[in-house]
């Protein structure tokens, strides 16, 4: 049980560290280019990365 908690904690700590590192090393979010909440009906073509990309 304790090893399970330790493993869980390790997983989330590593994950959060990665996310924090990425935040600090990426270009700042440009809120002026913020995409609308709902893509449908927004008139903007989707530009995100997706699994069927080639």
């Amino acid at each position: 049980m304790r090893t399970r908690t330790a493993a869980l904690a390790l997983f989330w700590i590593v994950l959060l560290l990665f996310l924090g590192w990425d935040w600090l090393h990426s270009t700042p979010v440009n809120h002026r280019q913020e995409l609308p909440l709902i893509a449908a009906g927004s008139g903007k073509a989707p530009t995100g990365g997706h699994c069927s990309a080639f």
Binding site: P28, N30, H31, R32, Q33, E34, P36, L37, I38
Partner: protein, 312 residues
């Protein structure tokens, strides 16, 4: 008789080599009328083609405003120089001709169109340029003649020599933001400057960092569609800008109202080193990196307006 003398002196003044660049930037309808038939004068009617077809100043050629402007998402963007060169050649313009830009003249905003075309022609290297004060509205109010003739104009072979001293790029503006010896002038109505409203082409309300506001409308005689005289412009400029600086850059949403401020400061008030940022805020707010701005809404109000937008 008096009119004839004025006309004669104007014709002499504008056609002698010594007066190469000394045409007045603004002409009243009464001043333009006698010149309109001179072969070296080219009247450029920038109204829509339908308005031109209905009636226009005798001898005027049509070059609707849209031809001088950029695409819908950035109307302030200059068309390719080759495109503009062809347009200028088709209009028969060159260093000898005196181009007079004529718009509808319905209000101060409309003057911006004429000022923008004037600025574009000056950017292309032409120097004998004027705007008709009050446009077609004042021409018609003065009871001056119009017709529907389509004048045949011989194309010129004018090659543009770009006058880059009157143009500011995004990089130019960025480098001048913190320069105390530079002035960024927002030509829009105060509500835009304060970030209370925005144009559809801009992604956010607000103005460029450290800009000052000179609404384009201050240059017009109140209640009229006529721009102020040179003397009046100098007085307004002195009041707004008591000190001289090295560089003044006018901007607005799409380089339309900005053209009025540029025209008034540079051509009327005679201030040196005045430029215009033609793409203005339509480009500035849509840059991939967030460029410095003032009077922008906070993150909270931005989120609120997004949520409100859902229910519209």
């Amino acid at each position: 008789m008096k009119r004839l003398l004025i006309a004669a002196s104007l014709v002499l003044a504008t056609s002698s080599p010594a007066a190469f660049a000394s045409v007045p930037p603004v002409l009243t309808p009464q001043e333009l009328d006698p010149l309109s038939s001179a072969p070296s004068v080219r009247i450029i009617d920038i109204r829509p083609a339908t308005a031109y077809a209905e009636n226009h100043i005798p001898g005027a050629v049509s070059a609707p405003y849209a031809a001088w402007r950029g695409p819908a998402d950035s109307p302030g963007k200059l068309p390719e120089v080759t495109t503009l060169a062809r347009l200028v050649q088709q209009l028969g313009l060159d260093n000898e001709t005196h181009a007079v830009v004529v718009s509808t003249g319905e209000n101060a905003t409309d003057f911006g169109a004429a000022a923008r075309v004037y600025w574009t022609l000056k950017y292309l290297g032409l120097e004998k340029l004027s705007v008709l004060n009050g446009g077609m509205q004042s021409w018609q109010a003065a009871g001056l003649p119009q017709d529907q003739s389509q004048p045949q104009v011989a194309a010129s072979n004018y090659e543009p020599r770009l006058n880059t001293a009157i143009l500011a790029t995004q990089a130019d503006v960025l480098s001048q933001i913190d320069n105390p010896q530079a002035r960024l002038v927002d030509a829009r109505p105060t509500a835009f400057f304060l970030g209370e409203t925005k144009a559809p082409t801009a992604s956010t309300p607000g103005t460029i960092r450290n800009a000052v506001n000179i609404e384009h409308s201050v240059w017009f005689k109140p209640g009229t569609n006529e721009i102020v005289s040179t003397g009046e412009a100098k007085a307004i400029a002195a009041e707004r800008f008591p000190e001289l600086v090295d560089d003044t850059i006018a901007f607005c949403n799409t380089g339309h109202w900005a053209a009025t401020d540029w025209f008034a400061l540079s051509e009327l008030a005679g201030i040196a080193n005045v430029r215009m940022y033609p793409e203005s805020l339509a480009e500035w707010t849509n840059a991939s990196h967030a460029l410095p701005m003032d009077n922008t809404p906070g993150r909270g109000s931005q989120l609120l307006s997004q949520l409100k937008g859902l229910f519209n």
